[in-house]
Amino acid sequence: MVTPLDLIRKKRAEAVSRIIGKGYLAAKRVYVGMATCEIAAGSKEVMEVFKQAIAKGIVKDVYLSQKGCAGRCNLEPTVEVIETGKMPVRYGRIDADKARQIIEKHLKGGQVIEEWVIG
């Protein structure tokens, strides 16, 4: 008999493969905070910059996702850049312009912009 646990494990495997199918295994993953507070601080524009960059092929091999609020109210909007095997990089107080610089320097150039990093 198939138990609910069997079913949920199957669902999890399917979910994981769907996420991978969306490009999760890309070299870099970018998360943009998109809770009410983050949006109020301007994260929609930030998200748009990353979306455009990917759509226009300015950056390649990047997985972009929205996320909820982790709780750093005074540092919003927040953006994370995660690369397997490296320390996750967490940026705070990002606006559209800073997002473009992250794309240029970090995503394309591999250079972490230290001054915006949340320690």
Binding site: A70, G71, M87
Partner: protein, 595 residues
């Protein structure tokens, strides 16, 4: 750029096993090898893995080294840090739901010192994609109870966990479940109270916006445990994004057969609907909330009968708040035993606070029960900015109280906070520095509760109004002898005689500030003086000898109260001065004194 981050757990158990000495040795070792700039050392609060402590967590990779001894340190540095070869022999497998959070955020001091149970997925998953939740063992707790547990076993587990209601009152959750489960009849309701109304509180909103499925999963498990097929999330209409994400989550859960008929192939049916609140603070009170769902004016009614016996539409109803529900999947998967190992004797698990006010890091903070206010404010919040002095910490929102600096070592748990004159409440924590006037703070909160009183019972409706009037005259310099005693007399009566929790706690901000800051009240009333310089009517602005006669203050004074010739000391006509403070903020020479 740091290449590694090593987190050392310095929770009470690990400290007992000399984690602090390990840290010293580690620092020494790193210095010796010249690695100090490549490795960041973090101290964390309890990470909930006590039985394997003391331990170090090395990121990236989230390698957990458990039972670490002094002699292990050089080996870890040599192998893992220098040669980038994690040591399998020393590593332990700790499969926790929050691992993923710490993998990303664990080395950030602000997060590292927290313990993320209910907020474990907030900020790391896409809340609008059920796949993200499923991938992190989402709905596994539900599948587990449906596969292996009877409703009685689920209730026993929740009871054993020691979980208490996170909405404020701290009623044992398992007991509530048991009471509701015991009621006869097939028609029962499960309600999630997401009517977050405290000014400055946003725990529930963030939790729903960041991880809506956790709440749904908790509710479905609750429905299974008490024998209900009908869940309702009562959420304020002012949270449109949270509402939308809940709607999406419900839709997705239905598509995955996690809601609806025959959940996961069993014969258990459960569905959830959303009801929007119109924004009345009192609708967070469970009986008022029920009235509101029923379509009536949201006003509390006397208990008993409790919702567990006669709730929504007169049926047995299980109401828990957002944070309480979010704990349920964790308790089921990690086990009641593990859960109850976190926290204090009477308060188990963690509590989320919305840390705000005069503190460097404002934000959402989830800490184990028993963490002291000082740890929250200084270790996580980063202390008071601008070199100012902390005056008070307000917990519990408008129902809570103000605790002075001397109470900073009060642990956050239900009993300790109540003993100190405040309450846990739903989790607001406002830090105030020396620029806050305690009388004015009390007035602010009372103004809120008075205007949000449902108007039903006399003590709350009329009594808080009279208290507010007294506070208003005190801050206007019209306080009378006996006003403090009048406030206490009314406050104590309102506390004991009001119908619902809103009224019973409404005087807390006043009574706690009188208890801890009585002299401030006395100064306002007797000397007509506001020590914090907040109460406008009580301020006097004068120009000191430091005045160079630049005339800047004269220019900004809106009522022409300042006179003087250039390059000579100016004077303020006290009869004309309206105490707006413009001169004070304009003067570049600190020549205006305010007292």
């Amino acid at each position: 750029m740091m290449e590694y981050a090593i987190t050392i757990c310095e929770g009470p158990t690990c400290i007992g096993r000399h984690a602090d000495r390990l840290r010293a040795i580690l620092l020494e070792e790193l210095a010796k090898r010249g690695l100090k700039d490549h490795v960041r050392i973090n101290i964390s609060g309890c990470l909930g893995m006590c039985h394997k402590g003391p331990f170090l967590v090395v990121n990236p990779g989230y390698t957990i080294y458990g039972g670490v001894t002094e002699s292990d340190i050089p080996v870890i540095v040599e192998e893992h840090i220098v040669k980038d070869r994690p040591i399998a022999r020393l590593a332990v497998q700790e499969d926790h739901l929050f691992n993923r959070f710490y993998r990303i955020f664990g080395d950030v001091g602000f997060f590292g010192k927290q313990m993320r149970i209910t907020l474990r997925n907030c900020g790391i998953i896409d809340p609008e994609n059920i796949d993200d939740y499923l991938a992190l063992r989402g709905y596994e707790a539900l599948a587990k109870v449906l596969t292996e547990m009877t409703p009685q076993q689920v209730i026993a587990e929740v009871k054993q966990s020691g979980l208490r209601g996170r909405g404020g009152a701290g009623f044992p959750t398992g007991l509530k479940w048991e009471l509701t489960a015991k009621q006869p009849g097939p028609e029962k309701y499960v309600i999630c109270n997401a009517d977050e109304g405290d000014p400055g509180a946003f725990m529930d909103r963030s939790a729903i916006e960041g991880d809506p499925h956790t709440i749904l999963e908790g509710m479905i498990i609750g429905g299974y445990a008490i024998g209900s097929n009908h869940g309702i999330v009562y959420i304020r209409a002012e949270y449109p994004l949270a509402v939308r994400r809940l709607e999406i989550a419900i839709q997705q859960a239905r598509q995955h057969n996690l809601l609806g008929k025959g959940i996961l192939g069993t014969n258990f049916d459960f569905d959830i609907e959303i009801r929007l609140g119109a924004g009345a603070f009192v609708c967070g009170e469970e009986t008022a909330l029920i009235q509101s769902i029923e379509g009536a004016r949201g006003m509390p009614r006397p208990r008993p009968p409790f919702p567990a016996t006669s709730g929504l539409f007169g049926k047995p109803t299980l109401i828990n708040n957002v944070e309480t529900w979010a704990n349920i999947p964790v308790i089921i998967l990690e086990g009641a035993k593990w859960f109850s190992s976190i926290g204090t004797e009477t308060s188990k698990g963690t509590k989320v606070f919305a840390l705000a006010g005069c503190v460097v890091n404002t934000g959402l903070v989830e800490v184990p029960m028993g963490t002291t206010i000082r740890q929250v404010v200084y270790d996580i919040g980063g202390g008071i900015p601008g070199g100012k002095r902390l005056t008070a910490v307000q917990t519990g929102g408008p129902s809570g109280g103000c605790l002075p600096e001397s109470y900073l070592d009060t642990p956050v748990d239900y009993e300790s906070l109540a003993k100190a004159g405040s309450i846990m409440g739903s989790g607001g924590m406002i830090v105030m520095d020396e620029t806050a006037c305690m009388v004015d703070v009390a007035r602010f909160f009372l103004e809120f509760t008075q205007s949000e009183s449902c108007g039903k019972c006399t003590p709350c409706r009329e009594g808080t109004k009279r208290m507010l009037e007294i506070l208003e005259r005190i801050v206007q310099g019209k306080g009378r002898p006996g006003d403090i005693e009048r406030l206490e007399r009314l406050g104590n009566m309102i506390k004991k005689a009001s119908l619902c929790g809103l009224g019973q706690s409404a005087p807390n901000p006043v009574l706690s500030t009188i208890r801890h800051f009585r002299d401030e009240y006395q100064q306002h009333i007797e000397q007509k003086r506001c020590p914090a310089g907040v109460c406008k009517a009580l301020l006097t602005y004068t120009i000191t000898d430091a005045c160079v006669g630049c005339g800047a203050c004269k220019k900004v004074c809106p009522v022409g109260a300042i006179s003087g010739t250039k390059k000579e000391k100016h004077v303020i006509d006290q009869a004309k001065c309206i105490r707006c403070g413009q001169c004070y903020t304009t003067c570049k020479f600190n020549a205006i004194s305010r007292s």
